[in-house]
């Protein structure tokens, strides 16, 4: 909303710096987003009189005008439709410099040729002068102004604040309301505008004019009739007020209703009584399917929850939101019915939202106008209409009102306010602030409490905490003392559920992986692109933003595949990525509704930054497995086993699952080509997916120091030819169970296949470490055990020793 400083000064005196006032308002909760200087007219603009207008020979829309500048007659080419001879207009002479609103180079008026005709200046529209948004034609000035007069003398400079108004403060949606807070902040007495109304002329019975059928939705409705008005242009002062706050002047009647809305915060509406059939106003709910063409020219279909203002047969306005196109003030209107009312905010909000229609009026009603201002606003508008449009009042105020709500009374405890704020305003200071804000203070007792009565314009103040906020705002949050932060330990660190996740994340980073964060919403097809996800697993919201974000991810893999694809497209071909994130499952028999998953993806060269032979080494299955093993090891996870498995996500024969204590913790392998179609992978893609809870809750070995060995170890190698099907795990398992004395470690050091070994064969070679706790072993002892094992291997595993 816009607030004009000149307008504000009609209600409160202020002589200071407009910027300082803006800062004060911002620091009191009325945030000034922008300060604009209005009516700062560039030097060189004078009053001009158009003497002659002839068509431009080379253009349909340009005219050639002769304009009296006060110091001679200038030829000016003009594109405005209204540059008629006889008009008085603002004229920018040669050399006038218009600043660029974007801060760019100024626009300077120079003699020039327009379509071959010379032009020596520019006549201006209101928009060009920054006075309004009107660019439909030249600004027309009163004929009394002499040619050559400095135009800036005609315009009053103003400061306009664009303010952001929080939804709890509808009282700030008016100049009077803002003036109240200015008074509280800076002091000074406020002046309420004149709301006296002339006497009713003649007497007619208008008792039946208004019928309110919906007392709940419209607890207060007033109307009055003004007869004999002459609709016309508003005077300059009124247009200037409206233009300053961005409202387009229309005619004197409508302008007065808008003026009063911006002045007192109460939206008004004027009907032409000719269009009210039966001269009757009925406040009722719309009939289902009833239609109305509103002032914006659009037809709206209403339903039976919406409140309308109707005459005997049809709705003439959508209550509180917008008038009807065919019932408002016309140029030939002679009798107006002026509406001032209170509508239930929730009803206005619901209707406005359903119709997708909002207005300055609905904006105020849905936040709640001051119920105590209804009659004053009507009086104020009636007085102005009579002054500006003539006519006379032919009715008293027709006033249909339910029992008014009582003003809220709040017990204020001074100590509680001080304790909430941590500041120490005195009781007297607090009472003073309440009073300056227009709140009524009574029953001050024992220096401990007082009673605060809240007038209608502050419906947001409901209890003690709201009073504390008023004190904080006006006393000033900048007065909050700097006190040290007291770090008391309230919960044990083990209660910190996030710490475990942080640690896990750091382990994956330490393993050389870069963290990704993908979205929770994805499209259904991608979600099902993970073969482990079934359609019934997917959780869908009712109102997705688009099909691309239709379902919640049931696994991390699709998002990570999309990430890999985007990267490959950017020629980032060497990737080592992971994500830890929330995934969702609708099938609670399969997974909990929400859980955390971990995904790891590897593709491309292992060490792209290295050179020579290492440059070309590509990631393989064992890089992925190794990363996982490192993490398992550093977490001291017990009983972790990798088992070959078949899984549709992975290439057959290159997939494994990780079991921890017999529980499936995840899978890893080479990603199936079906999933990488269209990704233009230059090298294979490896992926692992883990359930975070299984990793985090896995049984771990308690760290207890083991005595370092006092005697040296001895090692022996054993190599053999084995069938391809023999797994490494089977070999180590066999060796460990073979009853070999002193054996402390078995480690593979070579494995290869080749033609020379024969079909279906591979060579495996292991280093065995022997050690005795209490002495150094002799060669003979070791050799004996070594030989024993060799024999057992040949016999038990059927391998050919080498």
């Amino acid at each position: 909303m816009k607030i004009s400083l000149n307008w504000l000064k009609e209600y409160i005196s202020f002589e200071g710096d407009p910027k300082a006032l803006a800062d004060s308002l911002t620091m009191a909760g009325l945030e000034v987003e922008e300060i604009t200087e209005r009516g700062k007219i560039p030097a060189g603009i004078v009053v001009g009189k158009i003497l002659e207008r002839t068509p431009h020979p080379n253009s349909d829309h340009l005219s050639i005008c002769k304009v009296d500048s006060g110091k001679g007659v200038l030829q000016i080419v003009c594109g405005a439709p209204n540059c008629d001879a006889g008009k008085t207009v603002p004229l920018a002479l040669e050399g006038t410099s218009f600043p660029d609103p974007e801060g760019g180079k100024p626009f300077v008026i120079k003699p020039c040729k327009l379509r071959g005709v010379e032009s020596f200046g520019m006549m201006c529209s209101e928009r060009e002068l920054g006075l309004s948004e009107d660019h439909g034609g030249l600004m027309i000035l009163p004929d009394e102004l002499p040619a050559g007069m400095d135009f800036s003398q005609y315009v009053t400079p103003d400061t306009v604040y664009t303010v952001e108004i929080t939804p709890n403060r509808p009282d700030w949606l008016s100049h009077w309301g803002v003036a109240r807070d200015v008074g509280a902040l800076l002091g000074g007495k406020r002046r309420f505008p004149d709301t006296s109304v002339p006497a009713v002329e003649g007497w007619e019975s208008w008792n039946d004019l208004v019928e309110v059928r919906e007392r709940e939705l419209c607890p207060h409705y007033t109307a009055r009739v003004i007869r004999g008005v002459k609709v016309g242009e508003s005077p300059a002062w009124l247009k200037e007020r409206l233009n300053a706050v961005g409202i387009r002047p229309i005619n004197n009647i409508v302008d007065v209703t808008n003026f009063v809305m911006m002045e007192l915060g109460e939206p008004l509406h004027a009907f032409d009584s000719r269009f009210l059939e039966g001269k009757k106003i009925v406040v009722r709910k719309a009939a289902e399917g009833e239609k109305i063409v509103a002032l914006d020219g659009k037809e709206y279909t209403l339903d039976d929850s919406m409140l309308v203002i109707a005459d005997k047969v049809k709705p003439v306005a959508i209550a509180g939101i917008m008038g009807g196109e065919y019932s408002g003030v016309m140029p030939d209107t002679q009798e107006v019915i002026l509406e001032s009312a209170y509508f239930l905010p929730s009803s206005i909000r619901a209707t406005s939202r359903k119709l997708g229609l909002s207005s300055d009026s609905s904006y105020r009603f849905e936040r709640g106008v001051d119920p105590e201002m209804i009659e004053n606003a009507s009086n104020r508008a009636a007085g102005l209409i009579l002054k500006l449009a003539g006519g006379s009042l032919v009715s008293e105020l027709v006033n249909v009102r339910s029992r008014p709500e009582e003003r809220k009374r709040i017990l204020c405890r001074f100590d509680k306010i001080r304790s909430l704020l941590g500041m120490n305003p005195s009781n007297e200071e607090m009472i003073d602030i309440f009073r300056k804000l227009g709140l009524l203070v009574s029953d001050i007792t024992n220096d401990a409490t007082c009673l605060v009565t809240v007038p209608g314009f502050r419906a947001d103040i409901k209890e003690g905490a709201d009073l504390a906020e008023e004190i904080a705002r006006i006393y000033g949050l900048d007065k909050l003392p700097d006190i040290p932060v007291h770090a008391t330990r309230i919960l044990p660190y083990s209660a910190d559920s996030y710490a475990k996740m942080e640690k896990l994340r750091q382990e994956f980073i330490a393993a050389g992986l870069c963290e990704c964060v993908n979205g929770s919403f994805i499209d259904e097809k991608s979600a099902l692109g993970d073969p482990s996800v079934a359609p019934e697993d997917l959780l869908k919201v009712n109102n997705p933003i688009s099909p691309d974000f239709a379902v919640l991810r049931a696994s991390l893999l699709p998002g990570m595949l999309a990430t890999v694809k985007r990267n490959i497209f950017q020629k980032n071909t060497d990737l080592a990525l992971f994500e830890i994130g929330h995934v969702f499952c609708a099938n609670k028999a399969k997974f909990p509704e929400e859980r955390d998953e971990i995904a790891v993806l590897l593709t491309g060269t292992r060490h792209p930054e290295r050179y020579c032979a290492e440059r070309t080494e590509q990631f393989d299955f064992f890089d992925l497995k190794g990363a996982v093993e490192s993490i398992l090891e550093s977490r001291k996870i017990k009983n972790a086993v990798f088992e070959a498995c078949t899984d549709a996500r992975f290439v057959k024969g290159c997939a494994a699952k990780l079991l921890i204590g017999g529980k499936e913790a995840g899978v890893l392998g080479k990603v199936n080509e079906k999933l990488t179609k269209g990704m233009r992978l230059a090298s294979p893609l490896f992926a692992a997916v883990f359930q975070a809870d299984v990793l985090l809750e896995a049984e771990t070995e308690k760290i207890l120091y083991k005595e370092l060995p006092s005697f040296p170890s001895t090692s022996r190698d054993v190599a053999f030819l084995a069938p391809l099907s023999l797994e490494h795990a089977a070999v180590t398992d066999f060796i460990r169970k073979a009853g070999v004395k002193y054996l402390t470690d078995v480690k593979i050091f070579d494995i290869f296949q080749g033609e020379q070994l024969g079909e279906g064969k591979k060579s495996m070679a292991y280093t065995l470490t022997f050690r005795c706790e209490d002495r150094t072993l002799t060669d003979e002892e070791v050799n004996k055990e070594h030989e024993k094992l060799r024999a057992k291997l040949a016999e038990g595993l059927g391998v050919e020793l080498r």
């Binding site: 929730s346 941590g422 500041m423 705002r473 980073i509 959780l539 009712n542």
Partner: protein, 339 residues
Amino acid sequence: MLNELLEKLNKISAAVEKEFAAASSAAEIENAKVKFTGRNGSITALAPMMGKIPKEDKPAAGKAFNEAKALVAKCMEEAKERLGESASSAESVDVTLPGRKWPMGTQHPVTKTIDECCAIFRRMGFTVAAGPEIETVANCFDKLNAPIDHPSRDPKDTFYFDDGRLMRTQTSTVQIRTMLAQKPPIRIVSPGRCFRRDTPDATHGVHFHQIEGLYVDRHVTLADLKSTLKAFANEFFGEGVTIRMRPHFFPFTEPSAECDFSCVMCGGKGCRVCKNSGWLEILGCGMVNPNVLRNVDIDPEEWQGFAFGMGIERLTMLKYRIGDLRLFSENDFRFLKQF
């Protein structure tokens, strides 16, 4: 006999010094060594004379032998040292070649900011709490005192499921869960993902991350809130940052305020990022609304507290000067590698 041996060794010693001094390569040094102490070296060749030395002279002879050998070793060391680097060309490395890095991964800037915030607040005595992303209307709106027709509840702005539940729009839901689960004192921060029905663009995404704080105890004040936020501002953005609190409105706090940090780009002088105001709007905060406390069965007469909430993406964008939110979800490797 002894004298003859000593004389020969003296001569050889003179030759040793000369020979090594003249050596100009590792090979020549090696040759010199062989010439004196090698299998057929001149010192080695004198060894048989020892047998003929009378018993009483043997110690003196042995000593002379050892001295000669020691001289060879000493001269050889000196020669090697003298030739130094120029001689050991086999050992020279181009130290400007890239090292063989031990690869370390990187942390996504969003989670990096979350972790950093958690670390800062933990130091002030907060515990990090988490909660589900699919929530009830009660936890996300009702109990937080959001008016029944508040626009944020609208299906235009919030994602709903058939069963009436929703995707949480704020992590304040965790505050409600914590207050329902335990009695004060409570001092938590809750980071996490939230969802609003915004069309994705440079500054809006379908999801975003927040961190919210809650501190309820008997004597927590607005002044404590300010100190907490000031400490956070200085830890996260640096010592020079100042803060200011402006009254504002939120349904869940009363009094409410917005907290601005002095612009981290221009230091408060005014720039494009802070729209020449010198201040950046960072977070919303206030004293927990008594209605919220009542909604979770905490007596506002006995307990009071503060709450605050801020956007992780905004903090991250300001800290690393990232201009486009979409970078966070694109996960371009070149982007990830920068953190």
